[in-house]
Amino acid sequence: MGNGTNLGRVRGLGSAKHGGKHWLDQRLTAVGNLLLTSWLVLSWLWLPNFDYETVTAWLAQPAVAVPMILMLINIFWHVRLGLQVLIEDYVHDEGNKFAALTILNFYVVGAAAFGIFMVAKHAFTGAPA
C-alpha cells in the first residue's frame, strides 16, 4: 500500500504493532497457568474427599480463594489470546471473524466475572446453612 492516504493506512492494511505484546502475554500467562493449575491439581490430590463440607471449607480459605481467582483471570486471559489466534487462522470471512472474536471476548470476560464472583461470594459469606 506504500504511503497511501491516511484513511488507507488505518483500514487494517498493515500491522497494528501489537503483535509483540500479544506473543509475550501468551507466554507470561502460560507460565502463570503452569504454576496455578499445578497448584489446583496438587490441592485436589491433597483433599481427603470431595464431600460438600470438605470442598466448601477448602474454597472459603483465603489461601485457596485468592489463587483460584488469580487462576481464573490468568486462564481466561490465556484463552482469549489463544482462541483469538485460532479464529484469525481459520475464520477467513471478515464478518464471521468479527462475530467470532466478539463472542470470544464476551465469553472470556463473562465467564471470568462469573467465576470470580462465585469464589468471592463463597469466601465472604461462607457456606449457606
Partner: protein, 146 residues
C-alpha cells in the same frame, strides 16, 4: 484461467508427510479449545455449585459424578457422558501442559534440530498419555469403588 498441470505446485498440507511435530502442533490447538470450553465450563459449574449450597452441589454431583444407586437409565448415561468428557479434558490438560512446556523451551531457542524436535514431539504424546492413564486410574480407584 486453467492451471497448467505441468507447472510445479507449492507443497501444502496434503503433500507433506505427517510427522509427530505437526501432530503435536495441531493437538495443542485442539486441546486448548477443549480446555477453554468443556474444561472451564465444568470448573465454573463446580465452583458455582460450591457457592450455591448443598442442594446445588448435590445436583452437580448427580450429573457429573454419580446419580447414586437408584439412578435411571438416562442419569447413568449422563454420568458416563461426563466421564468421557472428563477423560477428554484430563488428556487435553496434560497434552496442552507438556506441549506448552515444549513451546516455552523452543521459545528459548532450543530443540530445533530435526532429531531433537522429533524426539520432543513424541515425548509430549507419551508423557501426556502416561499422566492421563495414571490420574484416570487414581480417580477411578478412589471414586468409582473399583
Amino acid at each position: 484461467m486453467a492451471q497448467n498441470p505441468n507447472r510445479p505446485v507449492s507443497p501444502h498440507l496434503q503433500i507433506y508427510r505427517w510427522g509427530p511435530h505437526m501432530a503435536v502442533s495441531i493437538f495443542h490447538r485442539v486441546t486448548g479449545f477443549v480446555l477453554a470450553t468443556a474444561g472451564m465450563l465444568t470448573l465454573l459449574w463446580w465452583i458455582a455449585a460450591i457457592a450455591g449450597g448443598p442442594e446445588s452441589y448435590a445436583t452437580f454431583q448427580s450429573y457429573v459424578v454419580s446419580a447414586g444407586a437408584e439412578a435411571s437409565g438416562t442419569q447413568v448415561a449422563i454420568n458416563w457422558l461426563f466421564r468421557l468428557v472428563g477423560l477428554a479434558v484430563l488428556y487435553s490438560f496434560f497434552q496442552h501442559l507438556f506441549s506448552g512446556i515444549r513451546h516455552l523451551l523452543m521459545d528459548l531457542g532450543a530443540g530445533y534440530e530435526l532429531k531433537t524436535n522429533r524426539t520432543w514431539s513424541i515425548a509430549v504424546f507419551i508423557a501426556a498419555l502416561t499422566a492421563t492413564a495414571l490420574v484416570a486410574m487414581l480417580v477411578a480407584s478412589r471414586f468409582m469403588g473399583a
